[in-house]
Structures are given as C-alpha cells and as structure tokens.
C-alpha cells in the first residue's frame, strides 16, 4: 500500500486507463466479426503504408506505362492494365492510400464538427442550442450525397475539396448522438459539484463531458470511416475528384469513361469495387464491435 500512496494522481489515472484498455481488449476479443474486421484493416493499412516500397509512385506514371491499353489479366499483369497501359494491381494498391486517407480525414473532420456542435449544444442549452439543433436538423434531412456533390462541384476538383465535402455534410448524426450523451452526463450530480467548486464552461466540457462522450465518439468515428470511404468513391466515380490522383473510386470512373462497362473489361472494374466493399465492411465490423463493447446498454441486450 505504500507504493500506491507514493504515486501521484497522474500515475493513478494512467493506471486506470491502462486497466480499462486491457478490459476493452478482453471484451473486444470476444467479438469474432470485430477481429476479422480488425485483421482486414491491419492488412489494408499495411498495404497502403508500404505501397511506396512495394509498387512505388512510378506505377501512376502514364508516359512510361509498361503495358498496352486494356490488356486482360496475365502473368505479367495479374489484374490486367488500365486505359493507359498501367499495371492495375499496382494502381489498386496505390489507390488504397488515397481512399483510406480521404476516408479517415473526412470521418475525423465530420466527427470533430459533430462533437463540437453536440457538446456545446448540450452544455449551453437555450437559444444557442435551439439554433444549432435546427441547423443540425436541416443538415440531417438534406440528402448528404447531393449536398456533397453540390459542394464538390462548385469548388475546384481536389482531394481537399472531397474531404471537406464529405466532412461538412455527414456530421449531424454525430452531433445528435453527442448532444444526447452530453445532456445525460451534465445531469449527474458531480457536474453540479464541479460547478460549485468554480469549474467554468470550458472545464466542464473538456474535463467532464468530453471524456464521457469519448467512447461514443470513437465508435462513431469508426463507423463513419466506412461511409466516408464509400462517399469518396462515389464522388470520384462521378468525376468530382482530382483526375490526376489515383483512388479506387477514380479507377471506377476511369473504367466507365473508357467504356469498360459495355465492352466487358471486368478487370478494370472488379478489383477497385471489391476493395471498396471490403474496406467499408471491415470498418463497419470494427465499429459495431467497438460500439457493443463501449455501450453498456448494447452489451446487456446481447
């Protein structure tokens, strides 16, 4: 017991966190689907991160493309070639970088906006919250994809635009969820005590509310990534991406423009399509597992 008295509050907090992380992992391990999703994600992350070493940025070059346009899969090109004669396997590997990056950043942007709106609306209440929630409702009823397309069209075609377009249109669900949780947390007595001890708005929101909504935010982010990857692919497929950047959706758009759909050049369409589906599925599986571990209500129900 002497050791424990010697440790400060900070160390104590860390110990607590480590313990809860271990508990989290023990529970997560019991979800087989979550593990499969995690494994798939790890694989994709590995492929994306090592792409500069395995395929190299040269794979996107058109002037020194190794093959002739639209070659069927062969020993030399396991997934065939695209309309420039580039190696499609390399392009799919290289495209994972952009697809994952955009999906990740857009999801983070969306969740950050949603969390800020949700916490402040839950904390401040009153006219401010009403106005903010009406804005949220408005975004909620707007079809997000149409809004994202409109945004991506009026702004220059680039990756930043796509990230912004997805992030700005997909935050309202997070905002609603976080606000509900904030209201629940703020009604607890210890918040009142913190206020009585002189805790200001910032202190309450950042020290008491945020840690309590964090599990929710984490689960929401994981789920949001999968929809962001899909939206990114959709926007790229509609030609709203930077055409010189290789992404999975962009490959599908290239295939469509080259007429691969009607001429039956399946190797141009199938690999990026499957990659998008698998990544979206993997993130969803992980998200569901995280959600059921972190949300006690879901845990009881099962």
């Amino acid at each position: 017991m002497t050791a424990e008295t010697a440790t400060g509050p900070r160390t104590l907090a860390w110990q607590r966190r480590r313990r809860s992380m271990a508990r989290f992992w023990r529970q997560y391990r019991t979800h087989r689907a979550g593990l499969v999703g995690l494994a798939a994600l790890a694989l994709f992350a590995l492929v994306a991160l090592t792409a500069p070493l395995t395929v190299g940025s040269g794979v996107t070059g058109v002037t020194d493309a190794p093959g002739s346009p639209l070659q069927a899969p062969s020993g030399e090109f396991p997934l065939g070639t695209d309309r420039f004669g580039r190696n499609l396997l390399g392009l799919v590997v290289w495209g994972s970088r952009v697809s994952l990056l955009v999906g990740l950043l857009a999801a983070v942007l969306s969740v950050v906006i949603g969390t800020v709106v949700g916490i402040t609306a839950g904390h401040f209440r009153g006219a401010y919250a009403t106005v903010l929630m009406r804005i949220t409702d408005w975004f909620l009823v707007m079809p997000a994809l149409v809004l994202a397309i409109a945004l991506a069209t009026v702004m220059p075609h680039s990756l930043g635009t796509v990230i912004l377009a997805i992030g700005v249109t997909s935050w309202p669900t997070t905002a609603r969820l976080v606000r509900a949780q904030t209201l629940a947390v703020e009604s607890r007595p210890y918040i009142e005590r913190a206020k009585a001890l002189g805790g200001g708005h910032w202190h309450i929101m950042s020290r008491h509310v945020l840690p309590n909504v964090m599990p929710l935010v984490l689960a929401q982010t994981t789920l949001m990534i999968s929809s962001s990857v899909l939206t990114e692919a959709t926007l790229a497929f509609l030609g709203l991406d930077d055409p010189t950047v290789i992404s999975w959706g962009g490959l599908l758009q290239d295939a469509r423009e080259a007429g691969a759909v009607s001429s039956g050049d399946w190797w141009y369409l199938v690999p990026p399509g499957i990659a998008i589906a698998v990544v979206a599925l993997a993130f969803t599986l992980c998200g569901r597992a995280v959600e059921s571990v972190l949300n006690p209500r879901l845990g009881v129900a099962r």
Binding site: V62, T63, P69, T153, H157, L238, E257, S263
Partner: protein, 622 residues
C-alpha cells in the same frame, strides 16, 4: 464578319449557347445516371414503341440535348442537324467532295463587281402545309436576321456584310453586298416559311417547340419533341429530292455513352452518334459483334491546346489572369515541343485519330496545310529545354524552372470534366512538362465557359468542327471577334489578335478564285502555327456504330470515308435504307424480362434473408 458555321458547334467552350445550365441539373443527371444507366435504359419505353407496327423507324442515340429548335437560336450540333433535316438551305454540299450543289437554289451567279449575287429558287419545293416555297420566303428570312437583333443570334454573322436582300420574282433572290464575300455559296441558314414565322413576335424567346408538326420543307418534318428525351421526325414524302426510305427518324437522348452502346447491342437503337466518339474499348468490342458496323472515319474536328495570349477586349482593356510567361513565343513553342503527339494518338486515341499538323483537318484537302520541316514544332524535349533557357527560364536547385521574379513556372490547364480525352491527355502533359521543370495543374470543370470567357486560364483544351468552307473557324481568331468590352461575349475562340493574320483573313474573304483563296488560307494556317497560340495535337476520328440488321446502307460524307452523324447536310438520314428484318422494338421486351427476373431474384433473396433473421431472433429469445 462573315458567314458562319454553326454546325460543328464546338465541343469546346461554347459561348452563350452552352448555356449556363445550373450545374446542379447536370449533377442530378449524373447521379441518376450512376444508378439507372444500366437499369432504366432497357426499361425506359422507347418512343417508337407507341408507333403503329410496320413503320420503319430509325432511332439514333445522341449524347447532346437540344438547345433550341428555332433556326434563329439553335447552335448545337444536334439542333442544327435537325434544322438541316427540316428546312432546306439555299445550297447544299456534295456528299462526295463537299462542293456546293443546288439546294433551294438551283443556280447562282455573282455580278462582275462581285457585289451582287442572284439565286434562282426552285419552283418544285413545297412547305409541309402545302404552300409553295418562294424566293420571298428566303428574302424574308434574311431580312429578318438583318433587322431583328434577336433573330441574328445564331446566324447573324452570315448577313453582317449584306446590304440588301430582295425577291423580284417568286423564283429569283437578289443579295447585294457591302464588300465581296467568298462564302456566298456556303450560307448555312435555314430558310423558314414567311407565312408561319411572321406571326412570331419575340424571336429571342420563341423556340419553335410548341405546335407540331412544324412546317418545313426538308426531307423530314418535325413532329414531336421532349426536352432531354427525344426528337421525333417524320419522312416528308413530297420532298423534291425524293422521299427518305425510313418513315420515321428519332433522336433519343442518352446522357451516358456506355448506356447508348448497351442499347445498340440490344437493338433498342439503330445508331450511336460519334459525338463524343466511341472510346477505343467500345469500338473494339462492337467490332466483334455480328449485325453491328463500326464506322471509323477521318473526323472534321481538330483537338488543340490553346494558350492564353493575354485576354483583351476590342476597346484595348486587358482582363483575365493568363500567365505572362506565355506571352513569350519561345515558351509557347517549348511547351508544345515537349508534347509527343504520336504517343497521344497511339495511347489515348489508340489509332482513332490522326496526328495534328495545321489548323484544318486533312479531310478538307483543299485547305489542309502542314508545316515545313524547318518550321515544324516536332517533339524534341531537349530543344524545348534549350528554348526555355534562352527565354530566361532556367532550372533552380529543385529542378523547377523559374522566371526573373524567382517564381517557378506553374500552369493551369483548363479541361472539360465531361471529356475523358482531356483528362487522359492532361496526365501526359503533366508528366512531359514535369520533365522540363514546369509544374501544371489540371482544372477539370463541368462548365469551362465562365473561366474561359473571363480569360482566367493559362492553357486550355480546345476543339472545333470544321465546315467545308473554313471561313468560320478562321474568323474566330481575328481581332474583330474579340469582345467589345471585358463584360461582353465575343465570337473569339482564344483572344488571338494578330495584324498579319487579320490582313490575310480579309484577303481570303474577298477572293472568289477557289485556288487562290486556298493559298491564302494556307498562309493563315502557317501564321497561326508560328504564333503558337493554337497547337493542334490531333484530328480525332468520328467513331460511330450502327446495326446492320436495321440499317442496310447509309451514306457517309465524304463518300469514300466519312462520318454519318453531324454531316454538313442531310445525306446520311435521307439516304438510309432500312433492312428488311428491321425490328427495333425487340430489345425493349428482353430488357423488361431481364428486369422482371432481376426483381424476382432480389425479392426472393430478401425473403430468404428475412426468414433467416426471424429464425435467428427466435433462437435468441430462447
């Protein structure tokens, strides 16, 4: 200015006409397309199915929508092609070699002073409501365009040089000119019936699409039109040149070319227009199909890289933000010398194009010009680098070329988001110029018109269809075509204004001797080439396809090897002969069957899934 072509209109950066369609509309279309391109097409009831059996219908899939059906407003290729079919012009172009042949006028001759042209109007032509076509109709049409600003919207430049147009008798039309004009046998103006059109009050708003059938005198009569859906025409059995063999002609709008190709495979359409051209992959896969013929012929278009020469208006005011380094001819030449046109032909067009040389495509052999070996800007990256060094743009430590102000060269290239070729060529340019040490960003927009008119670009993909008479595509590079003020819209293509070129332009317009005129036109092309503002990379082929079990034969223009859709005349549709077994509604029913089967499968799958789920929850409850 002078006679104009509206025909080819441009695939490029249209002016007022490529309308300011709100982008959202295009978007909504794009959205709809992704979900429905494959499904809705076969299920979409083809307009011809409503027709009585036995009618021979020719259905053409087009990727362009109609801007207006008024001859005074329409400028798009589809619209002007339809006007060609419904209104006879004074003269037509021979389908063989495009020399002027009698249309509504049986003969024509200029006076000795070159200023008075007399046309003899045929007496055997009738409007579709039974009235005779007279010279008075033609005179009224021209006079309307000369007096009413709104009626001059589309074809006004044809009459800009007209002093007076009269009809002394029903068969005689007299045009008096202010200055000699070499293009008097190439007046592409639809002649309209006075007795119908004199009732129109506001020509700027009247689109000629409210009451059908529309009175005309061409080989076909316009009978129905639905915006962004279809245009239906019926054969004019009493057409003076002879009745068309098909009973009906339908132009059906397909937003997605791949969907149109699928419809052709199914036999739902008889013809897929090569505007835009079929992609190499589509052409290759269609070539292997029985009952389908791919027509891959030299096109009438050029595909160029335009350079912003510093946009300015006629009043001398400069506007836009073109990169000042492009004002140096050496830089422009260097940029183009780093472009390997052969690779573009081989890789992007995959042989469905001819390497670019002069301004006018080789198909118009009279006016085709190519640079001398000494003048040619052949692919030579080493020489390009040398030119840039001479111009003072040397490489810095990072390998980037910098100007005297220390800023690295970085160009924006305006590209059409709807054109796959722009994007593909753009990627090549980016890599070629990167090797030179020049940065480049590809700005692909759905609507390039706004930045283009504002001069806010450095380089841009450009392309025009050329008419048998090249006057119009030459006129768009004269100083006279510049906008009056930065706020106005001029006929100019790329803000080029060059004195030498203008002098040559005036000379060719006043030259009535075809040989001498062609010589001057070639000098103009040479001048344009040297200036380096218009760098022609390729002449894309017209790649189109049709079903031989529905169309037995159809005339191309030129006859030897030419296009079918978008001709300078009505020859293709007028001459098309139906195949005996032409059954154009078969595809629709198979589409329906496929749809029904797919629906049943989906329902069955959903049912199975639900059943399983219910069982699962029941298990859980236990």
């Amino acid at each position: 200015m002078s006679p104009q072509e509206q025909h080819g209109a441009r695939r490029s950066h249209p002016r007022s006409h490529r309308s300011r369609t709100p982008r959202l509309v295009a978007l909504a279309g794009a959205l709809a397309l992704t979900s429905s391109a494959a499904l809705a097409t076969p299920l979409n009831p083809a307009p011809q199915q409503a027709q009585a059996a036995g009618d021979r219908v020719l259905t053409v899939a087009v990727a362009q929508s109609v801007d207006s059906l008024s001859p005074f407003l329409a400028v798009r290729l589809l619209s002007t092609s339809i006007l060609r079919l419904t209104y006879e012009y004074l003269t037509d172009y021979d389908p063989g070699d495009a020399h002027p042949v009698p249309g509504l006028a049986t003969s024509w001759k200029p006076s000795a002073d070159k200023l008075t042209w007399t046309y003899t109007i045929r007496s055997d032509a009738k409007w579709s409501d039974g009235q005779k076509v007279t010279a008075q109709d033609a005179a009224w049409t021209f006079n309307k365009m000369m007096t009413d600003q709104a009626a001059a919207t589309a074809n006004g430049s044809f009459v800009g040089n007209f002093r007076e147009v009269t009809a002394p008798s029903p068969t005689q039309l007299v045009v008096r000119l202010k200055k000699p004009q070499a293009t008097m046998t190439a007046l592409d103006v639809p002649i309209v019936p006075e007795h119908v059109w004199k009732k129109v009050t506001d020509f700027s708003k009247f689109n000629n699409d409210k009451s059908f059938p529309v009175v005309g005198d061409g080989p076909f009569v316009l009978t129905d039109y639905k915006a962004d859906s279809y245009v239906r025409l019926k054969a004019n059995k009493s057409f003076w040149r002879g009745a068309p063999k098909f009973d009906e002609l339908v132009f059906k709008y397909y937003k997605d070319q791949d969907a149109a190709v699928a419809a052709l495979r199914k036999g739902e359409v008889s013809f897929v227009a090569g505007q835009p051209a079929l992609t190499p992959a589509q052409a290759a896969s269609l070539k292997g199909q029985s009952d389908i013929r791919v027509n891959d012929a030299p096109g009438r278009r050029f595909y160029a890289l335009a350079t912003n020469p510093g946009a300015k208006a006629k009043n001398g005011q400069k506007f836009g933000d073109g990169d000042p380094s492009l004002l140096d001819q050496r830089v422009r030449h260097a940029l183009f010398m780093a472009v390997d046109r052969k690779t573009i032909i081989d890789k992007v067009f995959q042989g469905h194009a001819v390497e670019g040389q002069g301004y006018i495509p080789p198909r118009f052999s009279t006016y085709f010009w190519k640079p001398d070996p000494g003048q040619e800007l052949a692919y030579d990256p080493a020489k390009a680098a040398q030119l840039l060094d001479q111009a003072g743009y040397r490489k810095n430590a990072d390998g980037k070329r910098v100007g005297k102000d220390g800023k690295p060269l970085n160009y924006r290239v305006l590209c059409h988001a709807t054109d796959p070729n722009d994007k593909a060529v753009g990627q090549y340019l980016k890599e070629w110029w990167a090797k030179l040490g020049i940065g480049m960003s590809l700005d692909c927009l759905d609507n390039v018109t706004d930045p283009w008119l504002a001069g806010k670009y450095d380089l841009a993909f450009d392309g025009w269809s050329v008419n048998p008479d090249p006057d119009y595509v030459l006129s768009i590079h004269t100083c006279a075509a510049l906008p009056a003020t930065p706020k106005d819209t001029g006929a100019t293509d790329n803000f080029v204004c060059d004195k030498t070129y203008d002098e040559l332009y005036a000379r060719q317009l006043a030259e009535y001797d075809p040989g001498k005129r062609a010589g001057i036109v070639k000098q103009m092309e040479s001048r344009l080439y040297d200036l380096g503002y218009m760098n022609v990379m390729a002449y894309p082929n017209a790649v189109e396809a049709y079903r031989t079990d529905q169309i037995k034969s159809i005339e191309t223009m030129p006859r030897a090897a030419g296009n079918i859709y978008g001709q300078d005349g009505y020859w293709s549709w007028w001459s098309a002969v139906p195949a005996d077994s032409g059954d154009s509604s078969g595809g629709g029913s198979t589409g329906v069957i496929i749809g029904v089967v797919a629906g049943v499968v989906v329902l069955a799958g959903a049912g199975a899934f639900l059943a399983r789920r219910r069982r699962a929850t029941a298990d859980d409850r236990e």
